[in-house]
Amino acid sequence: MKGIARVIVEAGLVAVLASVVALVFNAVRPEGLSLVADRPYELFVPCPEPLGKVDELSAADAWRAMGRGKILLIDAGSETDFKGWHPEGAWNIPFDYILPVTDGDIRKIASSGASRVIVYGDGSEPDSGRELARELSGRGINNVSFVVGGAQALKAAREAR
């Protein structure tokens, strides 16, 4: 452990020299960076949303559940898909992988008085309905389920009834 101070001074000198070389090299290279960025970097880092636990529900069970108690049905699909088809009384909250559900929507769901929330989405992998259900559950909504297979399964199950 002898001479640690001298070693640290040497390290400092090397760092300074390397920095000077770096700055000179950056100045002469055609694709060199400006020393200070002129505008903030646009970053794509998914912000972690609190995700909760949700129950899976088959489409047939979802229809059965709708006949019992106060159920809130939420369509996680796009506005166009929602307009194309949706069960009566369903709400549309399009799921977005980047933007979180607005606080207003969360408040609306929480004050709906529903004892159970059933979400359905596109049924693909990953399923927008499942993702939205997990987000709602993580944001404090209780008793949230999602329909396996999404809108297609729900539609098929209704026709089969």
């Binding site: 452990m1 640690i4 070693v7 640290i8 040497e10 390290a11 090397v14 760092a15 020299l17 390397a18 920095s19 070389v21 770096a22 700055l23 090299f25 950056n26 694709e31 060199g32 960076l33 400006s34 020393l35 200070v36 960025a37 903030p40 970097y41 970053l43 880092v45 998914p46 912000c47 972690p48």
Partner: protein, 167 residues
């Protein structure tokens, strides 16, 4: 501390047979790490920015300077020239990386560490394992700082040369 065979722990820690491979290992790690950063400084600047730790005015400066310090430290470790000073630099950098990754993990950022290439979070996400990997490299760097006694390399050859001239 003595073992049954009478080998002292200090002899093991200062052994060239262990220190030289460790020096080469850390040197190669830093050499590989600095290449893409020097070739693509703009991409590395994005990696630095992604950590959301440094203020905007320091991001480009860090992206320009850090890879060259890595290159200098790596070359010195590989060549055995002022290896302890180089290991001080790698220790310092490892410490900075460990803090940065820990902060990013505590913020829940899903991102790549940007250590060896500018990959997406999906291919090379940071995790607790990344922190432990860097802690391992920090431990090896500190070992070199405190126990390297002129293991084989340029300094060793220079010392031998000087010794012969005096004899």
């Amino acid at each position: 501390m003595n073992t049954a065979k009478g080998i002292r722990l200090n002899d093991v820690l200062t052994s060239s047979w262990l220190l030289v491979p460790m020096r080469l290992y850390i040197g190669v790690v830093f050499l590989v790490a600095c290449v893409h950063k020097i070739v693509n400084p703009a991409m590395f600047a994005v990696d630095v920015a992604t950590y959301q730790i440094l203020p905007l005015y320091l991001i480009n400066l860090m992206a320009i300077v850090l890879p060259w310090i890595e290159l200098a430290a790596a070359s010195m470790l590989i060549l055995g020239f002022r290896a302890r000073a180089a290991a001080v630099l790698t220790s310092g950098m490892m410490l900075v990386f460990i803090v940065a990754i820990s902060v990013a993990l505590s913020k829940g950022l899903q991102m790549s560490c940007g250590c060896f290439a500018s990959q997406g979070a999906a291919e090379d996400p940071i995790s607790v394992a990344t922190v432990f990997r860097d802690l391992g490299w920090l431990a090896i760097s500190l070992w070199i700082v405190f126990f390297d006694r002129k293991s084989f390399g340029l300094d060793y050859l220079h010392a031998r040369f000087v010794q012969r001239r005096h004899v």
